[in-house]
Symmetry: C2
Subunit: 220 residues, 2 copies
């Protein structure tokens, strides 16, 4: 019973995700789905990325949050279109909400849509929202065993951003063990080591983004 | 449709949780449900706690994990009964699995059962598993805005352990803001600031545990 219903929910979500993907492809808009634990640095990464993209790409943001508009408010000074989806307790975003959010944007004027998913390493990885790709955002303070323990996201992601490398020296984080376990799950995934706070390594992330936008967008 | 089914699942879970709570109360066993993000330090807290409890309380552990037996293996040297529940992708533990796990223990010989829930700040907070209380485990590296952004756990928890305070000076974590937002959600919750790695502040956690066990257990 439970399994059948879950299957129906996933099927409905998948159909809607495919519709969303079709619209974005027709409009040549790149949609990136940022997924990571609470506090891994998704919003800070977005702040740095939006600032970097100013004058290069037209950005829009869909903010997913269980409660509050804190993250959306943090992004407001950047003056890009933002839709906040408060899930009211739900642990992930689904494609129906993404479709409704995209409807509020003028997609003819947008190059990249960033979705900041609910802070959660488990559930958001299961739901296709019509994105071009999921990007896993982790931080060294979470420990090097996270890929092995939460494998789905690392298998699904098109890129991996490892944040807070400035704190590495104060932790037991084993970079080789981390890199190896990600590679075991997803051999081709680019792994970018950054510190948003110290603005280290961000150029590798920007380069990945620009290269990807170059393949997808109308006017990269 | 979806809502009705979710209600049925939650009702079934609640009924089973009440059964579990009845059994534990009759046996005078304290069950604590540790909930926190991936990498907040739940397993390390357990390691320190089991070591402290040796000779004081008879401990058993139920380990919830999406994949792998890493955490269960970490606890093995402590020589306490451990049941590993691999959820195979699911984002939280439910009371039916807890009941099955408890059935494998001889509850007449156990004082405290620790449940380490799946690393997730959202979903495990929604499910009563028959525990005496949920304990929220956070770390300063996740940021001071987590209570406000993920309020349910902080409302539900009977105690809050804030871990990794040794890293506080390397982050922008605002202790006053954190404490205030927890207090807004749950005025009576004890907030314990610790560093498992540096073994700081653990005595406040042990004191809470011993005081609680004193009220619940047969031979504290």
């Amino acid at each position: 019973m439970k399994i059948t219903v879950m299957k129906n929910i996933l099927n409905a979500n998948q159909n809607k995700a495919d519709e969303v993907r079709g619209v974005l492809a027709a409009k040549r808009v790149l949609m990136v789905n940022l997924i990571g634990s609470p506090g891994s640095g998704k919003t800070t990464l977005l702040e740095k990325t939006i600032a970097h993209c100013a004058g290069r790409f037209a950005i829009a943001v869909i903010e997913g949050d269980v409660a509050t508009d804190r993250d959306a408010r943090r992004l407001q000074p950047h003056n890009v279109p933002i839709v906040l989806i408060n899930t009211d307790g739900a642990c992930h975003l689904e494609s129906i909400s993404i479709q409704q959010a995209l409807d509020t944007f003028d997609l003819d004027t947008i190059d990249i849509v960033f979705v900041e998913n609910v802070g959660n390493l488990v559930c958001p990885a299961e739901f296709d929202i019509g994105e071009f790709g999921k990007v896993a955002v982790c931080s060294v303070t979470e420990g090097d065993d996270k890929p092995e323990k939460y494998p789905l996201l690392f298998r699904e992601a098109k890129a991996l951003v490892l944040n807070k490398i400035d704190l590495c020296e104060y932790t037991d984080f084993d970079m080789d063990a981390f890199t190896q376990s990600v590679t075991m799950l997803n051999g081709t995934i680019p792994q970018m080591h950054i510190s948003c706070r110290r603005e280290k390594g961000l150029d590798t992330w920007f380069a990945w983004l620009e290269e990807t936008a170059g393949r997808v967008c109308r006017n990269p």
